[in-house]
């Protein structure tokens, strides 16, 4: 009865059979994929369209404009930071000649005096005079005892006599640590 409905007479009759398991699986996969594609595309479309990014960009611009009105104070702060960095560098690196002189003077025993001193960077040359060789000897002992703390090298370059003043002059070249 059903065969008469289809008027076309074909050679290879393809029987209409109930769908097999594989066909059902394929159908489920197709429907699932279709549904998933539709759902994800709608979801992502909504997420992108309604993202807060444009509002956040406007907020950032407003905040930037507010901050720009305070740029003078920001500049002052940055200048202070910059200046203090440089000042610290100057103070750390400069040689403290006053302390060097003071320490040196503190080692001079009674009866000795500094005749002349030349200082440059970490090197100084000094002439110490005294009427007494003993005083100069005491001074030498004192300075060599203290040498490891401050001085890298001490060289005695000259010991001379000043007959006019009756003094002995001791010349030292000292390198600081």
């Amino acid at each position: 009865m059903n065969n008469s409905i289809n008027l076309l007479d074909y050679k290879n009759k393809v029987a209409v059979t109930p769908s097999s398991r594989k066909q059902k699986l394929l159908r489920r996969i197709a429907v699932g994929l279709l549904f998933a594609s539709a759902a994800f595309s709608v979801v992502f479309f909504m997420l992108i369209t309604f993202s807060p990014l444009p509002d956040l960009e406007k907020s950032r611009k407003r905040a930037s404009d507010n901050l720009a009105s305070l740029d003078k104070d920001i500049a002052k702060l940055s200048l202070i930071n910059e200046r203090t960095d440089n000042i610290k560098q100057i103070l750390d690196n400069r040689t403290k000649y006053d302390e060097i002189l003071s320490n040196f003077q503190s080692m001079l025993p009674a009866g000795t005096a500094v005749e002349s001193v030349q200082m440059k960077e970490k090197h100084f040359s000094v002439v110490v005079s005294s009427k007494s060789l003993l005083a100069l000897d005491t001074f030498l002992k004192q300075i060599t005892d203290e040498s490891t703390k401050e001085y890298a090298k001490i060289r005695m370059t000259e010991l001379s006599t000043d007959l006019n003043n009756n003094t002995f002059n001791l010349t030292l070249n000292i390198d600081m640590l």
Partner: protein, 249 residues
Amino acid sequence: MTKKVFFGQNDLRFFYLKYKDSVYYSISIFVLVIVTCLLLIINLIIPQMQKYLSIRNSVIDQRAKIKNINDNITFITNLNKTQLDSQLQTATKALPPEQDISGVLNAIAASAVRAGVTIGDYNFSLGETEQVSTNQVALQSTQPMQSISVVLTVDGDPARLERFLTEISEKMPLSEVISLDSRDNKTTINLKFYYKIFSNITFKEDVPLSPLSPDKKQLVDKLSMWETAPVETDPFSPASTSSAVPLFE
């Protein structure tokens, strides 16, 4: 006879009628749907997902930037402006942005008065330019440090000389003794007074600002104690009383 809408219409209708009840028809439909869905996923959904992730990252960045900017605004608004101005004044006095000859003369004169020495001949010259690098994150400064060289003669015994060196080291603008040559209570001192031109400041608004570190605050406080009051006695005029120490011979 039906009119053909397009070429092959009858052929298609023939194949449809021939195979519509067959398993191949349904399989081909399913395969077509699966292929179409896969193409949609690859060409549409995955790019949309990437776009969404990129937008999400941008949202996170923007939120962080807005937070930093607002924090910076709060920080700057709460700063003590008087203290800031005072600190800036002290810092620029210690390291001026230009040659401060009057400051140099004042520092020398004040040091001489306090040390009890007299100043003899002196001369000024522009010193070398030194490159200084700073390590600030948000701000970069590459202006070199410059100096004014001063060679002056100081009359005084070693104790007073030492006092003069201590005093000049605590005066502004900041100086450094380069060399000294002392004979018979007469000392020639070679000094360098530093100055540095203001650099262009580049500021990134989303980089958090921070207050002065405790070390720097302490340094500025120390410098403010060194601020030199102008010397009342004109260093270029002779001493008016016998008790006054002549500064310049």
